[in-house]
Amino acid sequence: MEEEKDVLSSLRAAYPGDVLEAGAPFGDETIVIRPAALPAIMAALRQSPYEFTMLLDLTVVDYPDRPERFEVVYHLLSIPRNRRIRIKLSVPESAPVVASLTGLWKNAEWLEREAFDMFGVRFEGHPYLRRIFMYDGFEGHPLRKDYGLRHRQPRIPLRK
């Protein structure tokens, strides 16, 4: 029980160059990592001793002013240990590519499709990366900050 108390410091020790920040803002344990280290760190978190067996959520935040514009956020839950952790990483607009986690958590398949649909972040290794909410032929990614607020793309010709 002792070692699981400090997930953050053990992660920091195991991946010294890859964990950029670790802290618990507002009581939620959060680490910020380098994108390249995502598969290794997530695979480690999935297994003992952490056992984060459930991928609760996968979202993207758009920060237009940052050089690395898109921040991908993962929320994990460990059912055996009753713990949660948040993992963040940032990717630039020029190459918004993140490794897919479909091999670790099956539900990442739809979550990654949603993130791709809404923000245009691509997930390398995803088996079927296409839009999930918007229809085929929709242009752009509607939750990006530079998508026009009043921009409309009707799918069928509307009545006059």
Binding site: M134, Y135, H151, R152, Q153, P154, R155, R159
Partner: protein, 159 residues
Amino acid sequence: MPGNFITTSFEAMLGWGRKYSLFHYPFITACCGMEYMSAACAHFDIDRFGAGWTRFSPRQADLILVVGTVTQKLAPVLRTVYDQMAEPKWVIAVGACAVSGGIYDNYAVVQGIDQIIPVDIFVPGCPPRPEMILEGLLALQGKIQKEGHDWRWKKKKTS
């Protein structure tokens, strides 16, 4: 005058017959459906007005009730369902979302189903109470009664 008979016009008979035998098709996509269910069931009892029979096939329906939010992705489906209905046919848009898009003024939602299919009666409200839905139905019945001889399929062929 001897005998028992009544006089009326063919249009009035036709309108009377049609307005009290509406088979409706519920196209329900959102929370207004709860109000529709309430209106359709025994408490408010839409059957009092002759529209009690729900047909879950547009081909057998006279009236389509579009209840709830219609997204751009759903718009072709709604158009197809409307096209499958046999003439004469009527449309009631129930709820703020179907009427105008409601609070969803965004990239995904059609701003009023009258952009896709012609609408006879708009029932606003978020959601409208069952009484409002029944009032919309009564307004439609009044409209059908007055339509008289002006049949829609004739209108369509000439235009």
